[in-house]
């Protein structure tokens, strides 16, 4: 109604008049509550850089879309000639299949309870699946109604899941059954060297990644000696792929996190602060000067409870930057999110910093793990104010 509009306008004007602290940026961006800000230029740079790495190394680029979970951001990959993608669930495969992606790998051990949807997908797109047991393979043999590619999941040291890289007889037996099955094409060996996340320097990333590539290529060689060929190798972690370690010895890379990076990647050494493309803008709602703390509207349901351990032994749930007219500034020294409850984030920092911040200011929190933060926030706001939705926004 016209009355409503009038009220809205008046509320806005009053807000501006009564709170001179509010910076131009906040007003331009219209931030009122925790908001996932996206620097799209940085995103495009990150995509371009990884696409260049894959072109220079002549390796197939099959980016993992579980980080951004967005049809719109997916389109920016198409501009780099990406045609194959990785996802982490059947639902995510359905979402991107609906947006015209026709070559999709679900990089998660097959969940046989979703066979109906898997068959639907296999009828629509070129579908890749991950297998690591004879039980699952036998089930697929009986129940697949359309052709799929099969990758064997290999463990090269992360010990999350997969068959040990040195269990070559087990791997060969699976590969044999796959190649005998009319609805399955054996593609090769796939790993996620998640233990690069324990690295704290580029040298350490290189050492772990080289070791991981050694192991999976050894397993490949062993299969080929047993007469199975061709056997491709697919690897996936952002730290190793960013540094391009061993890519001349693999066929496919599947990094995902590099699209935004985050505090964890910064700590590992796989990005610089200027590569981080997503932060959560959080209003300041209270100050506790006596203990050098601020209270943010921004908690576990916005950032996730993923943390890093700082050198002082404390947990950090995020680093803190100020907003600027063009986005956000550099990470404030010695300022960190020290605890989270459902909607509260508690920031601690040097007295000089805490004293300068006022209730109603908005601070940018660099998330520890951007994949989890995106999944919680469900939608992005670009620096020019546009909204970008994800699968989780439930509006597609």
């Amino acid at each position: 109604s016209p009355g409503q509009t009038q009220n809205d306008r008046m509320g806005f004007v009053i807000l501006v008049l009564a709170n001179p602290h509010l910076s131009d940026t906040i007003l331009t961006m219209n931030i009122e509550k925790p908001t996932l800000l996206l620097d799209t230029l940085r995103v495009r740079n990150n995509i371009h850089r990884m696409a260049e790495i894959s072109r220079n190394q002549s390796v197939r680029f099959r980016p993992h879309f579980k980080t951004h979970q967005s049809i719109e951001i997916g389109e920016w990959f198409r501009e780099e000639n990406v045609r194959q993608i990785t996802v982490s669930s059947v639902d995510m495969a359905m979402y991107f299949a609906g947006a015209g992606w026709s070559d999709i790998l679900i990089a998660f051990p097959v969940n046989i309870l979703q066979i109906r949807q898997i068959n639907e997908l296999a009828a629509m797109v070129h579908l890749g699946l991950l297998v690591e047991s004879m039980e699952t393979l036998e089930f697929l043999k009986e129940n697949l109604t359309h052709g799929v590619d099969i990758w064997i999941k290999v463990d090269v040291g992360a010990h999350r899941t997969g068959i040990g890289w040195d269990q070559t007889d087990v791997i060969a037996e699976l590969a044999h059954v796959i190649s005998q099955s009319p609805r399955m094409v054996f593609r090769g060996l796939l790993t996620h060297a998640g233990h690069t996340y324990t690295a704290r320097s580029r040298d350490e990333i290189r050492r772990i990644s080289n070791d991981a590539v050694d192991k999976i290529t050894n397993a490949r060689n062993s299969l080929q000696e047993k007469g199975l060929a061709p056997v491709e190798v697919s690897i996936g972690d952002t730290p190793g792929c960013t540094l391009g370690v061993g890519l001349d010895r693999v066929d496919e890379i599947r990094p995902g996190n590099f699209v935004f990076y985050d505090l964890m990647q910064l700590q590992i050494g796989s990005c610089t602060p200027a590569d981080i493309a997503a932060v959560v803008a959080c209003p300041v709602v209270a100050r506790h000067l006596e203990r050098n703390e601020l209270v943010l509207y921004g908690g576990a349901i916005h950032l996730s409870k993923e943390y890093l351990t700082l050198e002082n032994g404390q947990h950090s749930y995020g680093a803190v930057c100020r907003l600027t007219p063009n986005g956000w500034g550099s990470i404030e020294n010695g300022v960190w999110v020290k605890s989270l409850s459902q909607e509260h984030g508690i920031v601690r920092g040097p007295k000089e910093f805490i004293q300068q911040v006022k209730v109603g200011d908005v601070l940018a929190v660099v998330p520890v793990h951007s994949c989890l933060t995106v999944n919680l926030m469900k939608r992005y706001q670009t620096l020019t104010g546009e909204t970008i939705l994800t699968l989780e926004a439930g509006e597609w």
Copy 2:
């Protein structure tokens, strides 16, 4: 299309035939992917028990709806004559106002950037707000367009936020300004004794809660001595309210988590396993018998990364139960979710347990912190197969 339906039916029949492991329960519940199962009888019992506690102690029951975030579950509180509710955000207040709740307290320090929505709400419902600084109070004085209740947030030891209970001059000054403002009614003092969460026994809960009630009632007495009256007291944590500690000395209780409880409440001592009303049903997708581990489809985006530290020093992201024809069984001894990535949950347990579980089985994971799990899962499935949505499902 008819062809589609035919395929669906066939897929289902084939699944049943090819996997004799699948229990009747799984088929009845139609669980294919991580599913938040709700035992509605337990929920109603939990609600009834807390309503009884409040009636016996003649204290106002203003349950916190941030745990369930559901209009439908909210209705079950109305059946216990609950008419006042607590929420943790302006959005959540809007959601429940839209469902006919007309007395809503936003138990979070006022976010002045949402003044427009706050005024909209104050025009619609009897609205309560939390204030803990003169800055915020001055802003509200200038910008409120409708009447609201104001509670002063007091810190009785949790040190998350609020004014220290012994800062009686500061509290009195705020109370004075509130009572002078035509659009504000000073209601009293509010606290969340979140430090009861450090308790590991009922005695410890009682000790911490009694101390918390001592402190906030001291602050109240001090205000009344200064001539401010009436001054109500509102407290809120589930451990203290479940045990009814000090309720004869307060006016209002605002517990939320008790509606489902969880592993954290079990560890604290505020519930029994039979009170826990929500679990996440997760398909088993891989087994690693050599290290006594299972891989679940169910990760950080389903359970949240909240953890407990077990007696053996390991982190636990959840306990594990089997599904039964009526819901889920007791917690399996020595079985726990030892790590989570985005979609994977790694379960470790005794060899005898791990060996009995097969790929395609479904296990129930008792979440560490049900509030965060509900926020991630966004919808419930009852034991009779109905779906219940939350605010986050985005379909209301």
